[in-house]
Symmetry: C2
DNA sequence: CATGTTCATCGCAATTCACCGATCATTCGG
DNA sequence: CCGAATGATCGGTGAATTGCGATGAACATG
């Protein structure tokens, strides 16, 4: 995972409403929910919620499964895991005296 | 740490240049460097770099210590630790079937 | 086929972001 | 006190983001 990817995901997570949307999705039965469920739980217009969902989807954080007249969304745990690992790597790279660790080991 | 705080930090980290700046700071001797060091390593104007540094500083991710005619910046490891913990909590809350874990335990 | 439901998408306005060059404040060396 | 250096900040431009209501596409049902 490159900086651009990490930054993209971070930006997608960089809005309180989107964090809340993810949480709502996680709380739903079987981790699945549709746009309406989210809209009900938030003081925002349906179009706005749909936009936020799109941002999360574009970042690859959620998955869309068309199902009849509505869409089911669920969190992509695989991507969360990837992110977690990439984030860990990032933090490690920023740790004190990570400065020449690789050459030390070489 | 609330969603707003997390989102703020995520947004600060949501730009590849800022990730790179943090890395540059970490690579520097004693984890300290000044604006010029960063500017030298990036194909951006000094004012732009200064802007990005300000974003990181506003997010509380770096610390500024005026030192003579220049400013020394360093990463705030304490804040990274906080973030790491908050991020972990976020991921846990998004994990599959985190849906009624608290009521289960209660 | 007509109707209702669900939601993505399309404008649109207001705000924020990213980048730049120019300027200003601070500080060190003579 | 003067000039050079460093870097924050200002003003401006173009692009992206955030919010909204309205429209449109896809589907289920009568």
């Amino acid at each position: 995972m490159h900086d651009d990817d990490i930054a993209n995901i971070m930006r997608a997570l960089g809005h309180p409403v989107r964090l809340e949307i993810l949480r709502i999705m996680a709380t739903q039965q079987q981790g699945q929910c549709c746009c309406g469920d989210v809209t009900e739980s938030l003081p925002l217009a349906q179009s706005t919620v749909s936009q936020h969902i799109k941002v999360l989807h574009d970042a690859g954080l959620i998955e869309r499964k068309p199902h009849g007249t509505r869409n089911r969304y669920c969190i992509r745990q695989d991507r969360l895991a990837e992110l977690s690992s990439a984030f860990g790597g990032l933090l490690k790279g920023l740790a004190p005296s990570a400065a020449g660790k690789e050459t030390e080991l070489a």
